[in-house]
Symmetry: C2
Subunit: 363 residues, 2 copies
């Protein structure tokens, strides 16, 4: 087992990473009261709810099983958590445990932030994406019909248990989608890590525990370093959005859920890399390596062929990262270094989109 301590002063917490952690007694030291409420969904509950409960001897354990899917990440669903907490008379010393992927983590964290103005919570992320993304940063919240993640709070867990064993039940597409975010950390921050990922990409795709554990550790470590410098997202934290502005346009165009988030980010990262190359910031060889590692991870490297340059332009214009009408993008300066900029010729962005959409259509 590896343990990473996320240093946030009096809100510091550990992330435990390794195979079979769910079945160990790692939760108990993080629980301050006697009441516990596990929040999970209909997919995860039959797989892991009993295992987690069996580690909680001596506590009063309640459970909330929510429907599975991004479409349920709403204030109404969070209210179902509040109903349950109040019906079962959970007090201020209760601890919520989020057992599931990013949707469960975001909603449970938000419920914990708001219930009686804040109770403890623990993350037990069951997807690779949530293990490397939601484990660090304290972002919680829900969607609103008019915008994703528009309602929420910054709220830190008491601890995170990232059990690599649970990734064995994850569909291969979801594992790959998580790897897309892992690759992102190498690209924006750490060329050595990127080199290591290139060497171990087949082990990661095959679900090798040791490789996954190391990748999760370094991803969380990088995210923690970035977030520590910028907890409320005004500056360098924006680098974590490499590929996301393009990716959000793809997700919005396709309808949420058809492309997995990580798949859209992968195709978006390649668009960002292509534009970086046109700006002279990335060599052809670096571009080829970035494309190769995504292909090896079984991720899409081209946008949906049915999209147009105009689709991207209009969908990217409504992204949160737009300031004063200028699209700001995370671009690469070599492998392991990124910057946020709106200082690029619009024609080059169009060339990037036209070229890669053309490749997608050529199939």
């Amino acid at each position: 087992m590896r343990t990473l301590n996320v240093e946030l002063g009096d809100r510091a917490y550990p992330i435990h990473i390794g195979d079979g952690l769910l079945r160990q007694s790692l939760l108990q030291p993080c629980i301050r009261g006697r009441q516990v409420c596990i929040v999970t969904n209909e997919t995860v509950a039959p797989l892991y709810l009993d295992a987690v409960e069996s580690c909680l001897h001596g506590f009063e354990v309640e459970r909330v099983v929510l429907p599975d899917g991004e479409q349920f990440k709403t204030l109404d669903t969070v209210n179902r958590i509040f109903d349950r907490l109040l019906e079962t008379r959970q007090n201020r010393t209760t601890t919520l445990i989020a057992l599931g992927g990013g949707v469960i983590g975001d909603m449970t964290g938000f419920a914990a932030a708001c219930y009686q103005r804040g109770v403890d919570f623990i993350q037990v992320p069951t997807t690779l994406l949530s293990q490397v993304d939601s484990s660090v940063g304290g972002k919680t919240g829900v969607n609103h019909p008019l915008g994703k993640n528009m309602i929420g709070a910054f709220y830190q867990p008491r601890c995170v248990l990232a059990d690599t064993g649970v990734l064995k039940t994850l569909p291969p597409r979801e594992l790959s989608a998580g790897i897309a975010e892992v690759i992102k950390y190498g690209l924006i921050y750490d060329s050595d890590f990127f080199d290591w990922l290139e060497a171990h990409i087949d082990s990661l795709v095959a679900g090798d525990d040791e490789a996954l554990s190391r990748a999760i550790y370094r991803s969380c470590e990088i995210k923690a370093e970035v977030v520590a410098q910028d907890e409320k997202e005004s500056g360098i934290r924006a680098l974590l959005n490499l590929g996301h502005t393009f990716g959000h346009a793809i997700e919005a165009h396709q309808g949420y859920g058809r492309w997995l988030h990580g798949e859209a980010v992968a195709a978006g990262t390649l668009l960002a890399a292509d534009l970086s190359r046109r700006l002279g910031w990335l060599t052809d060889e670096q571009m080829a390596r970035i494309e190769a590692i995504h292909r090896a991870a079984k991720l899409p490297v081209l946008p949906p062929p049915e999209m147009t340059v105009e689709d991207f332009r209009s969908l990217m214009a409504v992204d949160k990262k737009v300031l004063d009408g200028r699209i700001r993008l995370v671009l690469l300066r070599g492998i392991g270094s990124a910057l946020v900029t709106s200082d690029f010729p619009a024609e080059l962005l169009d060339e990037t989109l036209e070229t890669r959409l053309g490749l997608a259509r050529a199939g």
Copy 2:
């Protein structure tokens, strides 16, 4: 105009207190972006919405007018604020202005805490109760069908404007209810302030600006001192709940809204004082002064005659302040000093309840 700075490190903010402040340009220095959204209710909007808007030249001003009343302090109503914020494309630099009493302040503060994970907000409290209570402490939130204030956040405003002029349109009963909380600050913390209140109680009840302004300033100052020592309410902040455990029982028994919160607190404070007297902590003369000032403020000093000792016992048992089955009460040790304790004979509490319920029935 008086200005009190609430010192909370990087979340410090000013409370401006005085007559006619609504019509002055005090809001603008506290607004960091160009977008502003005023949240108010149907009672306050016709009285003051235009005045506040006319101070906001050069800003893009939106408004949300909610129904008036504690029964609307719900997650659904807060969602109406979110709807409006998203429909009008408010971004992360928007400022919400809460124009109304405690219900509007609590909901607007909570909406600001959650919208895009936190935007600025300003309190413009229009009742005496909200001027001396919600101005300090950062408590925001809504009720749930199974409990009051069960969902919320600790979130600080950028500034507070307490215009004593608006209290002239306040119904006399509501002014008196606010004075109950002002008296509380003297009782728990400052015997000199209590002396001053005794000398000026008629001016306060008559709505005298200078007297109100001074009373609000000192009340907020005391609350700020208490909260600074205990922001998340684990220790001495509990003293602010003098009379509240009894008061909540009265409100719950009568149905919320029939007794104003301050009225229930007044009757509850006299119960706490009576028990303190029986414990030998308060002289008969001090008890008489406490009763006299409440009478002069036109507040009830006895509980509802139709309640029984058993009603109090069962309603107080579900209060949030109960730990391990023992009722904890804020009691007085003389005027200007209070303590939280569960260390008193249950028979004395019964005697207090029986005596004052008897007086109430005798009418």
